[in-house]
Symmetry: C2
Subunit: 150 residues, 2 copies
DNA sequence: AAAAGTACTTGTATTATGCAAGTAAATTAT
DNA sequence: ATAATTTACTTGCATAATACAAGTACTTTT
């Protein structure tokens, strides 16, 4: 009986690209069931620690979280740095490349809030997007950039 | 030796929802490696037939294509109808729900065109989005709605 | 010094995907 | 009119990805 260790070395990525289409480029970086949730947590929920991601209600498995964090770091969507106030912790932050995904997340939220009867979307947020999309994007984007450069 | 037929009955979906978060809602409907490419083909490449999807450069496997088409149909992002001029063919079209994903796809394209050095994105398209995002969305959206009601 | 927290790794089972082949109905070619 | 081809799949099986439970090494708190 042969056991397959491929996953533990490379997992999801490292396949050669299926195409250079921009939709496919994005899919190959975060088009799985978990990466986008990690990005959401960093973008909208102020989460920056491994343990915080683990606690999200979708309950990501710890090995998958470790894998996705390292892939997101490798593709420079996030950066990992030691927590200066806590020797055994790391801090994960969105890079500018990651912050620039904000419009994508916003459009996904707008779509889901329209079509999901059970959505937990904050309607204040939806209204704000409808009134002043650019302003909101700039505001949130600036906040994330400040976090990054702290 | 026990064989697992689960995939052939339900595959990807039919799990109970992991959460009612709008990002997760979208992920559970099209957050896999293929659904978004099928939507892209219908949205930007005028593809409407099974065989046309199979021929895309990313080379989706035929069983996966069949599965994703039925899931997208089940979630009412696309509709399937017999081809009136061709008895053995079907026509797949985006519903309004599917057409409303256009802003999401556009933001993904904008992001990838910025961060992928090898992108095949048409720069005319990027310029048009920068100049007149709303106008472009309305125009493309109207075209897709016309296709739908034909 | 012991217990608890943090970020993982490892092993194994289950689920999803990829690939090759086959099928049935409709269409086209001879 | 029959045979070959097209179209949209299904089936079987191999491989890859994910889930779950447990363990590890280092740090921090008690």
């Amino acid at each position: 009986m042969q056991v397959n260790y491929f996953f533990y070395f490379c997992s999801m990525s490292n396949q050669k690209r299926k195409s250079d289409c921009p939709i496919n480029f994005a899919l190959e970086l975060f088009g799985d069931r978990w990466s986008f949730l990690i990005i959401r947590d960093m973008m909208f929920k102020g989460k920056h620690a491994y343990g915080a991601f683990l606690q999200s209600e979708e309950k990501i498995a710890t090995n998958i979280l470790a894998d996705r964090l390292s892939l997101l770091e490798k593709s420079e969507i996030i950066i990992k740095s030691p927590d200066p106030t806590h020797g055994s912790k790391f801090i994960y932050k969105l890079t500018q490349k990651g912050i620039d995904l904000l419009p994508v997340l916003i459009e996904v939220i707008m779509w889901s809030s329209k079509y999901d009867n059970n959505t937990t979307t904050d309607m204040e947020f939806v209204n704000r997007v409808n009134r002043d999309r650019e302003g909101l994007i700039n505001e949130l984007s600036d906040n994330l950039t400040k976090e990054l450069t702290q």
